[in-house]
Symmetry: C2
Subunit: 383 residues, 2 copies
């Protein structure tokens, strides 16, 4: 499977780019017991790999995606693809996560909707979509499912686990759940404990979805459903991913082309920021399942390592990996303090941990954006 794992990676490599990649499905046929106690007879995780697993099988790096991300973190699927994977700027030959050196794995999370088993999957026992009968998913469930995938690839230890936002929660959970399995943890723009504000924003998004009549208790046709509610949820969430300063620089009070010629007041998208947010909402409903949005935001809400283990120090007691947490100054969803808190608790437990803070006004999504500073930090940490 070493060979197989390497083979789908680079079919057409441009210098510095991962090239064309094929997603694959890992099917786990063993029963999976969720934290909630609910069970599934098995599950599928869709994943991609980049680079080659070395003969020692010790060069694997796992990438964990955020709420709306997926397994497609680098490369393109076809030559016609205009957009590469979501972390293509970080992952590739010669890049910070250098696929000439590392074997990189990224899977769509359990509960997701991009090929992994989740609420939009057909329940084989009923022949119908799971919808809201899908078991509740936690960050720990996501990690335990990923572990089966990693095991199936014949990998006996991960050199590193890397992720931002909800991905960072999974990174921490990996270190806690499988302490001897992971050498380096690199969570970014994240928290050990979802805050009241975070739960609040998630709840507004969920209410927008669940109060949309087309949600119908989660029972909707594949291309229907609460499109309005999901778009509203996404529009709002998008604002929380950026910053006042970055929105002002990007849009300010610029008028849309349609409106710039007239002084009239309308409720159409008169300002560019409005048409941009509307576009974000529209684009999202075409690629994301509303029920998955409910489940994944709920997993985030319930993430509190201190609550789960008695204290953050106890949560980190068994961690063996070296940890580097990266925070971003203008991230107001998972602000620097929440990132620092992780490192302080690790240090109090005598763990190898450090904190890097990147000064930027680009907000939470900074971890996804081009940043030589971030690349250098990642490169240095993986050395």
């Amino acid at each position: 499977m070493n060979d197989a794992a390497g083979k789908n990676t680079i079919e057409r490599a441009e210098p510095g780019e991962v090239g064309i990649v094929q997603p694959r499905d890992f099917v786990s046929t063993g029963e999976f017991v969720f934290e909630s106690g609910q069970k599934l007879p098995g599950f599928t995780l869709r994943y991609e790999t980049y680079g080659r697993l070395n003969p020692a099988r010790d060069n694997a790096i796992l990438i964990c995606h955020a709420l709306s991300g997926d397994h497609h973190s680098a490369g393109i699927h076809t030559l016609a693809d205009r957009k590469p994977g979501w972390w293509n700027n970080l992952i590739g030959p010669g890049k910070a996560v250098d696929t000439n050196h590392w074997f990189v794995i990224c899977s769509n999370c359990l509960g997701g909707c991009q090929g992994s088993t989740g609420p939009s999957t057909i329940n084989p026992q009923t022949g119908r979509v799971f919808g809201m009968t899908f078991p509740f998913v936690t960050i720990r469930d996501m990690v335990r499912a990923q572990k089966r995938l990693i095991d199936s690839l014949g990998i006996e230890s991960l050199y590193a686990v890397i992720g931002g936002s909800m991905g960072g929660m999974q990174v921490l959970q990996w270190g806690i759940e499988y302490p001897a399995f992971v050498r380096k943890l690199l969570p970014m723009a994240t928290t050990a404990r979802e805050s009241a504000q975070g739960i609040g924003f998630n709840e507004v998004g969920r209410q927008a979805i669940m109060q949309d009549r087309d949600w119908n208790h989660g029972d909707y046709p594949k291309n229907g459903g609460p499109r309005v509610g999901l778009a509203i949820a996404r529009m709002m969430a998008h604002i929380t991913y950026v910053s006042d300063a970055s929105m002002d620089r990007k849009f300010g009070r610029k008028r849309t082309a349609a409106e710039s010629s007239t002084a009239a007041y309308t409720f159409d998208a008169q300002f560019e920021v409005e048409s941009y947010l509307r576009y974000q909402g529209e684009a999202f409903i075409n690629r994301f399942d509303a029920n998955s949005y409910l489940y994944i935001t709920r997993a985030i809400d319930h993430f509190d390592l201190a609550e789960a283990h008695g204290s953050l120090e106890k949560a980190f007691e068994k961690i063996e990996a070296e940890t580097l947490v990266v925070g971003f100054t203008s991230d107001w969803l998972f602000p620097p303090e929440q990132n620092r808190e992780i490192v302080l608790a690790l240090l109090r437990e005598g763990k190898r941990a450090s904190y890097a803070e990147i000064t930027t006004d680009l907000g939470h999504d900074s971890f996804l954006l081009e940043s030589e500073e971030l690349y250098e930090i990642v490169r240095g940490f993986l050395k």
Copy 2:
């Protein structure tokens, strides 16, 4: 009308309290031309007054409310009232805005829904509610309508105009529009220019309303309409009025009573912050008109004094009043920088202006909350 203006104020005065107040309606029968060029043959503003206009008629203070506020800024309407007016902590005998000394006026804004003419008013020409046929309203329109009310009370100059958030925008507009009429301007937690982020949040709220099928292009029955959309808009907006820190202190990750006994995962309100936000949404739909929400947020979006006058300095060119701007450190809707910017532009124009910044972690709504520091600042400025 001096007598009349004073008479409705205190029918039952408790020490330090305004007591029972009766709202009144000012009916302007002169044609009103909106900034948009649209016209109304007249309009009504509902208002309240506290204290007595002195014989010199020079002790009047106008209070301007924020987006979801109204004319009821102090006192109670009946003995059964459990909640006094929204700025009752600031306004009253012996309080920072001392009604033993000042004659205080507060009116529901034009376009509002608490008794003043707005989208939910019956259009006398059609016999039907205006709905979306109501003219577009701007902050300047609101101020020009208020001026007619002030004139009708026989007041020839205002000692001060005070307001926070959208109320602060009106305060600035008063100083610009009627420079010789106002002696002191006291805007708080506000901006001279609605930011892209602000427009963005307003737009998400509007889309939640307008995409709700029950909105029906603004044509809905009095107690119906887009209740879901309006509740979603309010839930989201509420988060922007507070802060990460204050929500964490107030709610943290506390579970609701219904949920605290069980570890199960549900999509009900498991966290207190969720049930609180749901309550905020529910309470709002019973007191606010969705179309008014659209109109008033749009008025805020279009507020940009620099755009309207060429530059902020030009906007402030004619201001005669002394200005004190109060910003709050944790206000991320109208952050301190935006408040400071107003003062800097005034100072560059050689105006009497100063800035006070209150350190608090309570967010934007700090201006509404108990604060001895704020009371002292207001008291000092009014001296």
